[in-house]
Symmetry: C2
Subunit: 316 residues, 2 copies
């Protein structure tokens, strides 16, 4: 019998990457279309279908299911709802449209939930039923697994840990509130921390010579021992560590994984975060909760997460 495969689709504001992935997480064929070339999802999905039909790498019949990771992807409705970076209207019937082309079971979720499912199917969480993945990109996303299943809540909007309030009257957040975790702990957050520190101190820093400040330039400066950049990581870690202690009191997880751009700083972020988390954990949690970097490679994680969603559904 030919090997079973799933189609994983990472639908992003700029590009839509799609791949055929086996049960071990190996990408056996991959392609990409620029999302911005399409005036609606119907046309994009038709081209994805054609590309999958026309590829010569595997037999089309090997494809068993489709998993889609997309901003604001709602697992329950099968739609992308109110995604600010996609110009196709308030509600895009992604699952129905894909099923129309492929006649295969199709599932959608948002990026952070896909990352969590990717960790569960292909990563460090393969035997875990209670864990969380915190994705540190432009914002802070989270995929939370409870009882072995993603926490979607009643309407599919659950699992948002980025909007817990960590500072009353704190930084303005895109959500309309103030002091949300993601305004401090994200690429945007650490950049604003660096700018604040430069504006309010006279300390020398190689960041002062940078044309553009970003999570990446702060990380590079910190690795060179730049005190101000290191302070940025310390402040970020303090907010994150305290928040993860709160996360732990709510979820009592087996492990928490950090994923995405800022998490690539590795121990630079992990070590102080772990320190602040431990300091703030309830007594019976101290020393018990694993905090580690995601096992998934940042470059392929999105497509693996989308594929993992399909594999997870096939196996449940």
């Amino acid at each position: 019998m030919e090997e079973a495969l799933v189609l994983g689709i990472d639908l992003g504001g700029t590009n839509t990457v799609f791949a055929l992935v086996n049960k071990a997480g190996k990408i056996v064929w991959e392609s990409v279309f620029p999302t911005t070339n399409y005036s609606d999802f119907q046309d994009l999905s038709a081209d994805i279908f054609k590309a999958c039909k026309n590829q010569q790498s595997v037999d089309f019949k090997q494809i068993q299911a489709i998993g889609i990771g997309a901003p604001n992807g709602n697992y329950y409705s099968g739609c992308i709802e109110f995604a600010p970076n996609l110009p196709w209207g308030d509600k895009i019937e992604v699952v129905n449209i894909m099923q129309g082309h492929f006649q295969l079971p199709s599932f959608i979720t948002n990026d952070a939930n896909a990352a969590a499912i990717g960790e569960k199917v292909f990563g460090h969480a393969q035997n875990m039923k209670e864990f969380g993945v915190i994705t540190l990109g432009t914002g802070l996303g989270s995929g939370i697994v409870v009882h072995g299943k993603v926490l979607y809540g009643y309407r599919g909007f659950g699992g948002e840990f980025g909007h817990i309030v960590v500072e009353n009257q704190g930084r303005f957040c895109g959500c309309g509130n103030e002091g949300c975790l993601e305004t401090y702990v994200s690429a945007t957050g650490i950049k604003n921390t660096a700018i604040e520190l430069m504006a309010t101190s006279k300390d020398a820093s190689i960041l002062r010579n940078e044309k553009y400040i970003s999570g990446k330039t702060i990380q590079e400066a910190a690795l060179k021992g730049d005190a101000l950049a290191l302070q940025c990581f310390e402040i970020t870690a303090k907010y994150l560590g305290k928040a993860l202690a709160v996360y732990s009191s709510i979820f009592d997880p087996e492990a928490i994984f950090l994923f995405g751009g800022l998490s690539l700083a590795g121990d630079l972020l992990l070590n102080p975060t772990r320190k602040y988390m431990e300091e703030n954990l309830l007594a019976f949690h101290k020393g018990k909760i694993k905090l580690m970097q995601s096992a998934l490679d940042n470059n392929t994680a999105a497509i693996l997460g989308a594929s993992a969603l399909a594999w997870d559904e096939l196996s449940s």
Copy 2:
């Protein structure tokens, strides 16, 4: 066939109430022993067994299972672990001991989780799979239901919402941290708010004539229109409402129920809490999440919650 019953046990620091309860939540027989009379749980459980054997109201064989609600009751281990108000050691093997006497399936959980299961089996949450119960007593407890099951986490300590931090450098909490929700939103919390307001203002208040300030006296004063007492509820509601907005972004619940002493204030607490919750909800949650008082009577809720645990297990 005779009606099936369960034995529900509400094990408290002062009294242990136990009752035989039918599937509709009717208490058909009830008794109580002073917890403080017993030097270990073995003796107390033997007396409970004897009392159940000797009662003449129903046939002993009608009892199908046992549910126990207790402070620090751990569902997974079947033990009471490190309960500060019980003098029987760090780990009490409650489930094993009860099963030894009764030869019946036995289950334990903590008070707040029992309240949530009570709401699910006998109260307003009978058809809900995603909801939370916030218990407002001396402290703030919470029972959180996800995927139709209580969120116990990996080690059975999950579901603690009272220790999210709502004020950096805020009030000291028994857990060792500062600014935890329960230091503001609980009978103790509102009492401290009243004391703070009296100490820092010159406003007249009938509370200034009270010998003892408590959640109950503040409520009574507020109902008489006392401005300072009303301000106490406003402040409490602001912390609670903002916290429930955070709860909603994490869990996307169908409903949140308030239970316990302070919740008996009814609309005095519910209305301003709802206002602050709505103000702070993420846009797509606004107007969608039910906030209401528990359906369970405060006097029988603990025993009904314990019984509900047994019924819930029998039906799953």
